[in-house]
């Protein structure tokens, strides 16, 4: 395994960050192309007109409202494929470090894995959004506004900046870079949620999401600055970094306060209870693909931040004994998963239901993260167990893109006939669109964790990981297994199983409505939507099944990503 260190803009810099640079080029393209026209520039005092192209009367092609979507989809997909391709034939690890030794970015399996998640989700969302426009401009006022290609450009620019911000979070080795990326991505999502400004829900939900989100960001930033104040360093790792500071004096009040504040900031991003309140509103107000991005990519970004801060900076080895955040995170996980499932149980709006279900999934992921904080005397075992749990976590985030985003895309197809906001609008879907209903059912089954779908494998891996941590520690000490020897994180696994059982109720209800209820009045025949979103749904179905049946391959890749994070190369 090779590892190289380069300075910014030195040789090899562009190649190392190729997917990001593709996105930057895409941004410029998106801004420039729709503004191309027949404008000419007259050289002053002469009659010579040089074609200038920017501005003027536009041609039919660059006035097409679908063009930005097409461009964005292509650029995001290219980035996605480039991130994916870096896994083929061994990853080249690159550290990007300034001349004075400050580490900025690190390109390794871990960051690339998360980029795959981000770009995958965003490109699917982008592909699915192309067809949200009807074939011809209509008299509907809310739509005619959308039927403007500059308006469309805004949407896709935001999707791409969102991707750029997320990948900066993934790459960052530094609190400052982390925060910059976080805010770039967050601000993009705030606007994306409010993008349907013609509808009252869109504006309201975007506003609420922005207010609560900015408060959480502020709190998080305060935590980050306290950390800097305490240690005098912004670096996660390396000499004089935060990690070292924690190892020497981690139990002082200042870093603990900082840690609490940071938990709040990222808690909002992963929509952990009780910081999740804006999420259901935001998901319900946003369009299907945007809600899908919030539930998958944005959530992955939050988990990514937590992994960096909790495992690299304040990891259990650094604090002797179980991590200080163990109890706090455990309680957060337990509350989050239970709250999410209970709230989802009675929701009749499928988008809110999925939002609450995504809160529940955040709880499962936090439970897994909690298990990593358990300290074990046996370092070999501890490494092994952390590896298993982090692998499960990454696996979960990857497959979440497949079925959670897929479910939102199906709802997005329903939005094309102003449905998708009530459970009953799904009624009789099996008769109207059998394949779509089957796809939705597969997504629901995967969310519920039914074998052999990928949702089952991810849940199983998380539960097995937690149980392993809880049992393994006991076995190392005693040799025989007593119930009292089990670490209390065991109860988180139990709670997860119970919660999964509850969740089956509301996931199956969707199937019930689709297959056994009659369609609502006025809803009949096939749904009016284009091919590209159906293609995106198909991709989601295929991957949901494939990662379930062929889980082993993905697990191997996730293991290498987990290795990279935990420095067990």
């Amino acid at each position: 395994m090779t590892e190289t260190t380069i300075e910014p803009f030195a040789e090899g810099f562009v190649m190392a960050l190729a997917p990001e640079f593709v996105l930057v080029i895409g941004l410029f393209t998106l801004i420039l192309v729709p503004n191309m026209g027949d404008a000419k520039f007259r050289i002053p005092l002469t009659q010579i007109r040089i074609p200038w192209f920017l501005g003027g009367k536009r041609g039919t092609l660059d006035r097409d409202p679908r063009l930005p979507g097409l461009f964005a989809s292509i650029f995001l997909t290219v980035s996605f494929l480039m991130a994916l391709a870096s896994f083929v034939g061994g990853m080249e690890r690159v550290n990007i470090t300034t001349a004075n030794g400050t580490e900025l970015f690190r390109v390794d399996e871990f960051s690339r894995m998360f980029e795959v998640i981000f770009y995958g989700a965003l490109s699917l969302a982008s592909i699915a959004s192309i067809d949200r426009l009807p074939a011809t401009s209509t008299a509907d006022r809310s739509l005619s506004g959308l039927y403007n290609n500059r308006r469309q450009v805004d949407f896709y620019i935001l999707l791409m900046t969102c991707g750029l911000g997320m990948s900066v979070v993934a790459l960052s080795q530094d609190l400052f870079m982390l925060f910059i990326g976080l805010e770039l991505a967050s601000f993009s999502t705030y606007v994306l949620v409010a993008f349907m400004k013609e509808t009252p829900e869109g504006t309201e939900s975007g506003m609420k999401y922005f207010i609560v989100g900015s408060v959480a960001s502020g709190v998080g930033l305060y935590g980050l600055s306290l950390l800097y104040l305490w240690s005098g360093s912004l670096q996660f790792d390396g000499p004089g970094g935060l990690s070292e500071a924690f190892r020497t004096s981690g139990m002082e009040p200042l870093p603990l306060v900082a840690l609490g504040l940071i938990l709040v900031g990222f808690g909002f991003k992963v929509s952990a209870a009780p910081f999740h309140f804006a999420a259901p509103d935001a998901y319900a107000g946003a369009t299907g693909p945007v809600a899908g991005v919030l539930a998958t990519a944005s959530k992955a970004m939050g988990i990514l931040g937590l992994l960096r801060i909790l495992l690299v900076v304040a990891s259990p080895e650094n604090t002797e004994g179980s991590a200080v955040w163990l109890v706090a995170l455990g309680v957060l996980a337990a509350v989050t998963m239970t709250w999410g499932n209970l709230a989802a149980l009675g929701s009749t709006n499928p988008k809110r239901m999925l939002a609450y279900s995504s809160v529940a999934h955040a709880g499962y992921m936090l439970a897994a993260l909690t298990a990593v904080g358990v300290w074990s005397e046996d370092t070999a075992f501890a490494d092994d167990a952390s590896m298993a749990v982090v692998t499960a976590l990454i696996f979960h985030l990857v497959v979440l893109v497949c079925f959670k985003l897929g479910a939102f895309l199906v709802l997005s197809i329903l939005e094309s006939e102003k449905g998708g906001h009530t459970l009953e609008s799904l009624g009789g879907l099996a008769k109207r669109e059998p394949l779509l209903a089957v796809a939705m059912f597969i997504f629901m089954m995967s969310l519920a964790g039914v074998p052999p779908l990928s949702g089952f494998v991810s849940k199983l891996l998380v539960i097995m990981g937690i149980v392993k941590v809880a049992v393994g520690g006991a076995l190392v000490n005693g040799g025989t297994l007593n119930f009292s020897d089990l670490h209390w994180v065991w109860y988180l696994a139990l709670l997860m199983v119970l919660n999964s059982a509850i969740s089956v109720f509301y996931y199956l209800r969707v199937g019930l409505v689709m297959f056994f209820h009659e369609p609502e009045e006025g809803r009949e025949g096939r749904l009016p939507s284009g091919k590209s979103i159906r293609f995106a749904v198909l991709a989601c179905v295929m991957t949901t099944i494939y990662f379930g049946v062929g889980a082993d391959q993905l697990i191997t890749v996730c293991q290498s990503a987990a290795n990279a994070l935990l420095n067990v190369w």
Partner: protein, 847 residues
């Protein structure tokens, strides 16, 4: 345990790499056929050109057959030790082992295990599934009753086949069990294909539940096995059996119990005493299904499981420890062989005779396996080459009988299907204008009561609750009288109510309980339905006779199949049956307990000769017993082709025997024909000498006793009682000439009146299947039904109540929780602040 669970590929063979496709193709065809059938239902192209999915099924079964043959070719041609081919890994998980302080990888996945037994069963299953599929196209698609629902048949058919193929190929007992259950499900679906007929629905339930009894034991056995070996992979277990250190820690008596429990599963699946009751009823399914269950798939599964246990019995570490189980296996076989043959004596339904014959022949194989397992367990066959030969030949004889029986029985069922199909057509042709109206044999009040329940839409249980005035759980005469009056059925005086009550009161305590009422009304519905359905029974041999001239190919196939089952010299089953009988007696000489199964199989040989001859003669010889039988026409090509092929396979039994099948099938080290050491003629002569001129005088006499019983006395009795020459002017094919002439001569000369015997209590008992079903029903009624009604009450009261209240409670809680999402950003921030404080508290508390 020390073995690794990761399977390694021992020998690479291209065909074996594609082996999973053998089961995957049919499995994938299942949804495809079902889906296309739903979408294109009634479409003329789908119906006429694709035969409602029949041709899709045929294509995938053909592909499976070709792949199976390729695997068999590679295996025989030198790859004879490719045992483990792990193909697909679902996911691998590392587990922490406290004892070794190391992580061990456990992978979940599916692998393919190919050895001699696999190859043989794979061939049987793939070959017969393909032929039965061909037959089904001719059988199912020409019957108007199946119109527009054949896609369901073909979809379930291919799923059934993939279950069997998967079970045979699987590399662990776990996958064996999974596919085993898949077959159980498919048998339920297919036996109940005509689910609108209550008898078919009943038979499907019976088959499913009876085999389920065995499956529970099998599951417990597998759990115990896992407990002992830490894995269910063949690879791991069979390696562990060779490991002396490991085996020192295994209790052989526990292992015997484990294998015994697994054997009960096999008893259920292969319909052996005492779990045999489902097999005759399973005839309710369409005939191709009967052929599939009896020849290609289901019943062979039990035999396969027992054959898979061979390494346990053959293990040196367990020498002499498992002989009791071997005896039980042989004894169960012996009992069933005689019992089923005896019941077959009195059956008049063509398919039921074959069903009992299946039971009896499977029993032979169980006896053969039991003896082989005994020999493997008590002889020192690892070191003594003579003992090795004995064990191998005993095991091989049982497997060879499995092969011969499958081929012959598949052919017999298809031939019987052809007969029934044509008789049915002839009947339809003659009588389709007749419309009979039947009187129900049940009291009219009960019929009215049934109608009343149907009109009001009450369940029996609800009705019962409403008429049980004193709440005692039983209805006495007064309550019953009142109920009839209230329902406006009849206002009867007590003395007229009494016989009515008695008609329902099955246990004779003068009171009615819920199960009794349910059973009575159920019977009433069933009988009514049967009456309306059809008076003429196209399956009864009483309505046939003299068909030899009308359906020459079918009659020939049936004849060859019957001779093979009877063990007529030189044809198919003869070679293997002689072997099984000889080995049973060989063991009996060593272990006196085995005299019982040995005597049973010897007696059974004669009985088989009788009932198989009886069946053939009643159907094909003599003069037509009904007008319908005189108008039967030959059958179509789809049906004839598989019959034609299988006739040759059965006739070629001598060639298989000569190729050393009995030696080769169980043992990889012995391959006289395939490695060219011994020529075919030499092999045939060797087998002939063994069968007819054995050097050992005991076996010489034994082989002739069996031969005389099976091929002379049994058929002779049948010849004297049934059949006779064909009608004047009917011309049969020349090869029937000697048989029909012999039949006419013997019947004319030695015919005797067997009516006294036919009316004896034994015959009555036999035609009531020795009352097994009756007693099982009684036991169900008395114990299980009573208990289950109590359980149902507890379920609706306690468990459902709890679930309902949990559901209500959580919905209320959900409403409350969601009420916190007020919609106002102010509140959200407040909640976040509360959360922040709580987090601080928790972190401070720890630190």
């Amino acid at each position: 345990m020390g073995g690794t669970s990761s399977s390694e590929i021992i020998v690479q063979s291209t065909a074996a790499e594609y082996a999973p496709l053998i089961l995957l193709l049919p499995m994938l065809a299942f949804p495809v056929i079902l889906f296309l059938g739903k979408v294109f239902n009634g479409n003329p192209f789908w119906k006429n050109n694709l035969k409602e999915g029949g041709l899709i099924a045929l294509t995938v079964m053909g592909a499976s057959l070709i792949l199976a043959l390729a695997v068999a070719r590679d295996f025989i041609g030198g790859f004879s030790s490719m045992e483990e081919l792990s193909e697909w890994v679902w996911f691998t998980s590392a587990t922490w082992e406290s004892t070794t302080m190391m992580t061990k990888e456990i992978s979940f996945g599916f692998g393919v295990h190919i050895d001699h037994i696999t190859v043989m069963l794979l061939f049987i299953a793939a070959f017969l599934c393909f032929l039965i599929n061909t037959f089904a196209i001719g059988y199912m698609n020409t019957d108007p009753i199946n119109d527009n629902r054949n896609h369901r048949f073909y979809a379930e058919f291919v799923l059934f086949c993939s279950g069997m193929l998967g079970m045979v190929l699987a590399d662990s007992f776990l996958w064996l069990f999974i596919f085993w259950e898949l077959m159980g499900l498919c048998s339920y679906l297919l036996i109940g294909f005509y689910y609108e007929r209550p008898s078919a629905a009943y038979a499907a339930k019976k088959a499913f539940l009876t085999t389920r009894v065995g499956d529970v034991f099998l599951m417990v056995g597998l759990a115990m096995l896992w407990g002992m070996f830490g894995s269910l992979d063949y690879d791991v277990i069979f390696n562990a059996l060779e490991d002396e250190n490991f085996m020192a820690g295994i209790s052989s008596s526990t292992l015997q119990w484990t294998l015994g429990l697994m054997f009960i599963g096999a008893v259920g699946k292969s319909a052996q005493f005492p779990l045999h009751v489902w097999l005759p009823d399973a005839m309710e399914g369409p005939t191709p299904v009967s052929a599939l269950i009896h020849a290609a798939t289901m019943v062979n599964a039990g035999l396969y499981l027992v054959a898979r246990m061979f390494p346990f019995f053959g293990a040196e570490a367990l020498h002499g420890d498992l002989v009791d189980l071997a005896f039980i296996i042989a004894a169960i076989g012996g009992i069933t062989a005689v019992m089923a043959a005896a019941i077959a004596f009195v059956q008049n339904d063509l398919k039921k005779v074959l069903a009992y014959s299946t039971m009896s022949q499977l029993a032979y194989i169980f006896t053969g396996l039991g003896c082989a397992l005994w020999l493997a367990n008590s002889l020192d066959w690892h070191h003594d080459s003579k003992a090795h030969g004995i064990v191998i030949v005993a095991f091989g004889a049982a497997l060879f009988h499995l092969f011969n029986h499958a081929m012959a029985k598949g052919m017999l069922f298809m031939a019987s299907g052809a007969v029934i199909h044509e008789v049915h057509h002839a009947h339809h042709h003659l009588h389709h204008h007749d419309d009979h109206q039947h009187e129900s044999k049940h009291p009219k009040e009960l019929v009215m009561l049934n109608d009343y329940l149907e009109q009001t839409g009450q369940t029996v249980y609800e009705f019962f609750k409403s008429i049980d005035l004193d709440g005692s759980g039983e209805i006495d005469m007064y309550e019953f009288q009142t109920a009839l009056k209230n329902a406006e059925i009849a206002d009867l005086p007590p003395w007229e109510t009494e016989p009515l009550l008695a008609a329902i009161d099955l246990d004779g305590n003068e009171k009615i309980n819920v199960p009794e009422l349910e059973i009575t009304l159920g019977n009433l519905k069933m009988d009514d339905h049967d009456h309306h359905e059809e008076e003429f029974d196209a399956q009864s041999m009483e309505n046939m006779g003299g068909l030899a001239s009308k359906m020459p190919i079918t009659a020939t196939a049936m004849l060859v199949g019957s001779l093979s089952i009877m063990g007529f010299p030189l044809i198919g089953g003869f070679w293997s049956k002689e072997g099984i009988i000889a080995n049973a007696w060989r063991v009996a000489l060593e272990d006196p307990r085995f005299f019982f199964p040995a005597a049973c199989v010897l007696l059974g040989a004669g009985m088989t000769g009788f009932y198989m001859s009886r069946m053939w003669l009643k159907t094909f010889a003599g003069s037509p017993k009904t007008e319908v039988a005189a108008h039967v026409a030959p059958t179509n090509t789809w049906i004839k082709t598989p019959l034609f092929l299988l006739t040759f396979v059965s006739l070629a039994g001598i060639i298989f025997a000569g190729m050393g099948f009995t030696h080769w099938a169980p043992d990889e080290g012995y391959a006289p024909f395939f490695d060219g050491k011994k020529g075919l003629m030499e092999g045939i002569l060797y087998e002939m000498e063994h069968a007819f001129a054995n050097h050992d005088s005991f076996f010489f006499i034994l082989s002739y006793v069996a031969l005389i019983l099976g091929a002379i006395i049994g058929p002779g009795l049948a010849l004297s009682l049934y059949g006779g020459s064909l009608d004047e002017g009917e011309q049969a094919k020349p090869w029937f000439g000697p048989i029909l002439a012999l039949n006419a001569a013997i019947k004319g000369r030695y015919h005797w009146d067997n009516s006294a015997l036919a009316q004896s209590s034994l015959a009555t008992a036999l035609s009531n299947r020795l009352y097994f079903d009756h007693y099982y029903d009684m036991a169900m009624l008395k114990i299980v039904a009573a208990f289950s009604f109590k359980a149902a009450e507890a379920d609706s009261g306690v468990i459902d109540g709890a679930i309902k209240s949990i559901e209500r409670g959580s919905q209320n809680l959900s409403t409350r929780v969601r009420a916190l999402t007020t919609g106002s950003a102010r509140d959200y921030i407040l909640m976040a602040a509360v959360g922040t404080l709580a987090l601080f508290g928790l972190i401070w508390g720890v630190a």
